[in-house]
């Protein structure tokens, strides 16, 4: 998400004085700093704050960049008091009360409930007793709440007087007008603070650490101009972020649905052109029926009861010329799995005379069945080589192809296409039907698809030659879909950045443009989409 990076970049420009022009008529920050010091001294004198140990002056090597004229560097302790928090004894119920009934008390976990950079209260309030029982301190409204551990860097304004647990080092500005500036300066240095924080597994910054942190201080008038500008820009960044998220969601939907869409086009005959010279599927269907009759006669397969004729109402879409609607029971030999006797199923390593056994879809991959670790010596139902396997018991609908003879249990059904039809086309068809099968599954404890449902399932039968062309094209397209997915994870240097130049880019903002557009250009590249488009065009 580039919006986040853009926010960083805006803050960076803000604290370096590059966001708005300086005005030499502004009261210099050095004078402002004097005033803050005077205010601090007054508060000490009135006993409202404790006198702190003076900190060393800011050394040359602490300064990370040059400031514009009129600005000065200062330590956080120059501009505000750093206060921590504490937790009343959690075993004492009288210390805690429902939100709204006591003193708001914030933990880092509550920070996600901040509204527009402002936190009002946490999940619990603490009672006056609770407050007095520990060292937590009231932080007045407008102070900057900054978490100092687990994790470091959660930041918000206090929306009202509140206190915190020990996970914060909050800043109470000596002059409240400074608060927005302190907020953004701290936000800008969060990453730096985390990097320098002591601790390896559990990082935490102390009050002294925070007191010593340096921030740039612009003239007050300029602070106000910068803050107004930053606020304006941050709102735009929010819009950008929302648009980016929508784009991301769109990309994800695209990746999910493109393969489905390709399969749908494939089984509807829209993926490759029909060839007038192909043997029509009606002739193929006759041959399949003849072959089936022969197999029955030879006793190789069992005689099945005839399937009902296909009615107009059942037909979900129009088929191209040369195709014909059939039923799965027509065009393939269907074997419902049956589990072998449990004692016959053993771990592969111990067996000499056995056959690989699959109870369900545990060893399904994207397309071809992986090897199971189990074998059986007493197979009940055999799925022949090149059968398409369909998961028929909860969860239903997944499909795979087996490249070898296996025994199937009752979670699976094997469909063997007749007449040398490619099992790939049947595979892709069943894959396109997955959601349909789920909706057709019945049962209360286990949902399952019945043999009848499978046999009666309509199947769009293309000419044999076209099946092969479709399969070749689907394979190719599926590989391209995978590539689209891969684009996301590829590092940006390897992506085509040329198209960024397509946009009119004002020179001085080029950097910003690049940063902001990197995200946009990295998703499915124009080339890949073109490749897919071309594949559709190829046949015309």
């Amino acid at each position: 998400m580039k919006a986040a990076e853009l926010r960083q970049s805006i803050l960076q420009a803000a604290v370096q004085g590059k966001l708005v022009p300086q005005d030499l008529h502004d009261e210099p920050a050095s004078v402002l700093l004097e005033r803050i010091h005077a205010e601090k001294a007054r508060l000490v004198k009135e006993g409202k704050i404790k006198k702190e140990k003076p900190l060393p002056p800011i050394a040359e090597d602490e300064i990370p960049y040059d400031l514009p004229e009129g600005w000065v560097w200062c330590r956080l302790s120059d501009v505000g008091e750093i206060v921590g928090g504490s937790t009343p004894d959690t075993s004492n119920a009288s210390y805690y009360t429902d939100p709204g009934n006591g003193i708001p008390w914030i933990t880092p976990a509550d920070m996600k409930n901040a509204i527009e950079n402002t936190i009002y209260r946490g999940k619990k309030d603490i009672t006056a007793d609770g407050y007095n029982s520990c060292s937590t301190r009231i932080v007045p409204k407008g102070s900057i709440i900054f978490s100092s551990r687990a994790p470091i860097g959660l930041i918000a304004f206090a929306g009202n007087d509140l206190c915190t647990n020990q996970g914060f080092k909050s800043v109470i500005p000596y002059i409240m007008d400074l608060r927005n500036w302190i907020y953004y300066s701290l936000q800008n240095k969060t990453e730096d603070i985390i990097n320098r924080a002591p601790g390896t597994t559990f990082k935490e910054v102390s009050g002294t650490f925070m007191q010593k942190e340096i921030i740039p201080l612009p003239p007050l008038a300029e602070q106000q101009r910068i803050v107004a500008k930053v606020n304006e820009l941050m709102t735009l960044c929010d819009e950008l972020e929302a648009a980016e998220q929508e784009l991301e969601a769109l990309e994800n939907r695209f990746e999910e649905y493109l393969p489905k869409s390709i399969l749908q086009a494939a089984v509807q005959g829209k993926l490759v052109h029909q060839d007038l010279h192909d043997e029509p599927a009606s002739v193929l269907l006759e041959r399949i029926r003849a072959e089936k009759a022969r197999l029955v006669k030879e006793g190789k397969i069992k005689k099945e009861k005839p399937l009902p004729p296909i009615t107009e109402d059942e037909i979900p879409y129009d088929l191209p010329d040369g195709w014909i609607w059939s039923r799965l029971g027509d065009i393939c030999y269907i074997i419902m799995g049956q589990s072998p006797d449990g004692t016959s199923v053993i771990d592969k390593r111990n067996v000499i005379n056995g056959i690989e056994f699959h109870q369900g879809k545990s060893y399904f991959s994207d397309k071809y069945l992986k090897r199971s670790t189990q074998v059986t010596t007493d197979p009940k139902k055999i799925a022949m080589e090149n059968s398409v396997l369909l998961a028929v018991r909860a969860p239903v609908g997944s499909v795979n192809i087996t490249t070898r003879e296996i025994c199937i249990g009752r979670g699976l059904c094997a469909l063997l296409p007749l007449c040398k039809m490619t099992s790939d086309f049947l595979f892709y068809f069943l894959k396109s039907m997955e959601e349909d099968f789920v909706s057709k599954a019945t049962g209360t404890t286990f949902i399952a698809i019945t043999a009848e449902t499978i046999r009666n399932q309509l199947f769009p039968l293309p000419p044999l030659a076209e099946q092969q062309r479709i399969v070749a094209k689907v394979n190719e397209l599926m590989a391209l879909c995978e590539e689209i997915k891969a684009v996301k994870t590829k590092p940006i240097e390897q992506r085509d950045t040329n198209r960024i130049i397509d946009f009119p880019v004002a020179k001085q903002e080029e950097q910003l443009q690049l940063a902001a557009r990197g995200e946009i250009s990295k998703k499915p590249s124009a080339e890949l989409l073109q490749a897919i488009d071309d594949m559709f065009a190829e046949d015309e």
């Binding site: 950008l240 648009a243 769109l250 493109l258 869409s261 005959g269 993926l271 007038l276 129009d318 903002e509």
Partner: protein
């Protein structure tokens, strides 16, 4: 007899021929045969004039080589056809007769693919048996023939361009109501569905009316094949020399249209989805530049209409809710035209070519829009979706016909004042269909839709970035 039987019969003969490899070739073959037959039919008319000199050389006139069932066949026929192509492609046009230009242009763009003269003879005989231009009614049959051929071409085809169902063209034309004498243009005319719907409305009785008709029906088509079909279609509808240009409307800069280019009426269904080279978008002003062809067409249409000119057109849903450039185009549309009505069509009207939701926009150029009436045309009772076998019919437009002249707000209709549209940043997505579960689109359309949505989002991101840059630049550091 059913149209599909003729096309199927022709296809069955041709599939045996070694020279025919795909739908495109089969359709092209039939197209030029039909063209020659139609042209010969027209020549018979023209011969009634005393001084008529035939355009097509005697031996290549349809009546002389094709009409006789027992006529020339086999290799001799193939040789004859080859000679005919040569002769017609080199027709002497020095006398400037537009009819000769037409024949020459058409024949230059097509080929004879069939290798077997015997099969070609069978095809010709089938065409002669089934298509008779002398019976007026059969012109409808003839339309049907190549519309069903076009379906063949499209069902395997690409997104963008598709045949507009006759009920849709008839509805649009009925509402735009062109009068004889008004110049009617379809800048993306395809096979001429809108134009023939216009012609069908006119009652031509006098010679004057006939002459007027000849000069006022215009079309532009980019693709050679629909162009040829459109020419033949108009010839079949009584236009002697159809004023159809084989050209891309989007190629011409919008600011260079002259007075004589402007028209009274535009009825069209421009291609959606954008498959144009980048340079094409340069024809419109920078702030209206986009790759979506339908949007570009709209910009051109606004420029092509005379003041007071009327338009009825089909546009995809994306236009209604689009932002960025689409919003800029809508702003221009509303400011310079009275966009009085948007009819939201039920899904699958264009099935099986596309499932994208579409709309009919009606506007008159000249006065700014005060408000837009939206009407949502619901799927007729008993229909879940339209298909090739159950397409949309004329009577399905009945509810909107009824509403048109007596407009009231209702569940399916809404009047939206222009201020509300402007306040919604030119969103025209009113009175839409309730959201339905995601249907899986065909890949090409899915990619088109994805690109459109992505373009909309990218536009939005672009416009936010532009705002950020403006905010940054306002007080640029000196």
């Amino acid at each position: 007899m059913a149209v599909s039987n003729t096309t199927k019969a022709l296809k069955d003969i041709m599939r045996i021929d070694a020279g025919i490899n795909g739908d495109a070739q089969y359709i092209e073959q039939i197209a030029w045969l039909l063209f020659l037959k139609a042209f010969d039919f027209k020549e018979k008319d023209w011969e009634l004039e005393d001084d008529y000199v035939p355009v097509i050389p005697e031996e290549y006139r349809w009546r002389n080589w094709a009409e006789d069932d027992e006529g020339i066949t086999g290799d001799a026929l193939i040789e004859h056809v080859e000679n005919m192509f040569r002769a017609l492609r080199n027709l002497d046009v020095s006398d400037g007769d537009p009819r000769k230009f037409l024949v020459r242009d058409v024949m230059e763009g097509v080929n004879n693919f069939m290798k077997s003269g015997t099969l070609l003879r069978q095809v010709i005989n089938k065409i002669n048996a089934d298509i008779n231009f002398e019976e007026v009614k059969t012109t409808h049959l003839f339309n049907g023939i190549y519309e069903s051929m076009l379906k063949d071409l499209q069902s395997a085809g690409k997104a963008g361009e598709f045949y507009t169902p006759r009920p849709v063209t008839r509805f649009v034309v009925d509402k735009v109501n062109p009068q004889l004498g008004e110049i009617v243009l379809d800048p993306a005319c395809g096979t001429g569905g809108f134009l023939t719907s216009v012609i069908d409305r006119f009652e031509i009785n006098t010679t004057d009316e006939y002459r007027t008709l000849q000069k006022t029906i215009k079309g532009i088509e980019k693709k050679p094949f629909p162009f040829l079909l459109c020419v033949t279609n108009l010839i079949a509808h009584g236009i002697d020399v159809p004023l159809i240009r084989h050209d891309n409307t989007l190629r011409h800069p919008v600011d260079q249209y002259r007075l004589e280019d402007k028209v009274d009426v535009i009825v069209t269904n421009p291609p959606f989805g954008g498959a144009e080279e980048k340079a094409i978008s340069q024809s419109v002003p920078a702030e209206l530049r986009t790759t979506e062809t339908a949007d570009l067409f709209l910009v051109h249409i606004m420029a092509l209409l005379k003041d007071g000119g009327r338009c009825g057109m089909v546009l995809p849903d994306g236009f209604l809710f689009g932002t960025g450039v689409k919003a800029a185009i809508k702003k221009k549309l509303l400011e310079g035209n009275n966009l009085h009505t948007i009819v939201r069509l039920p899904k699958d009207v264009f099935a099986p070519y596309t499932n994208i939701n579409t709309n009919l926009l009606f506007f008159t150029k000249g006065k700014p829009t005060q408000g837009v009436w939206f009407y949502r045309l619901e799927m007729p009772q008993g229909y879940k979706h339209f298909s090739k076998t159950r397409p949309m019919l004329d009577e399905h437009f009945a509810p909107v016909h009824e509403w048109w002249n007596n407009r009231k707000e209702s569940e399916v209709s809404q009047y939206v004042p222009v201020e509300d549209i402007i306040a919604a940043e030119y969103n025209l997505d009113f009175c839409g269909f309730p959201h339905e579960t995601t249907e899986i689109l065909p890949p090409d359309e899915f990619i088109t839709q994805y690109r459109q949505e992505k373009a909309i989002l990218t536009d939005r991101i672009e416009s936010i970035l532009a705002k950020i840059q403006t905010a940054l630049a306002q007080e640029d550091v000196q």
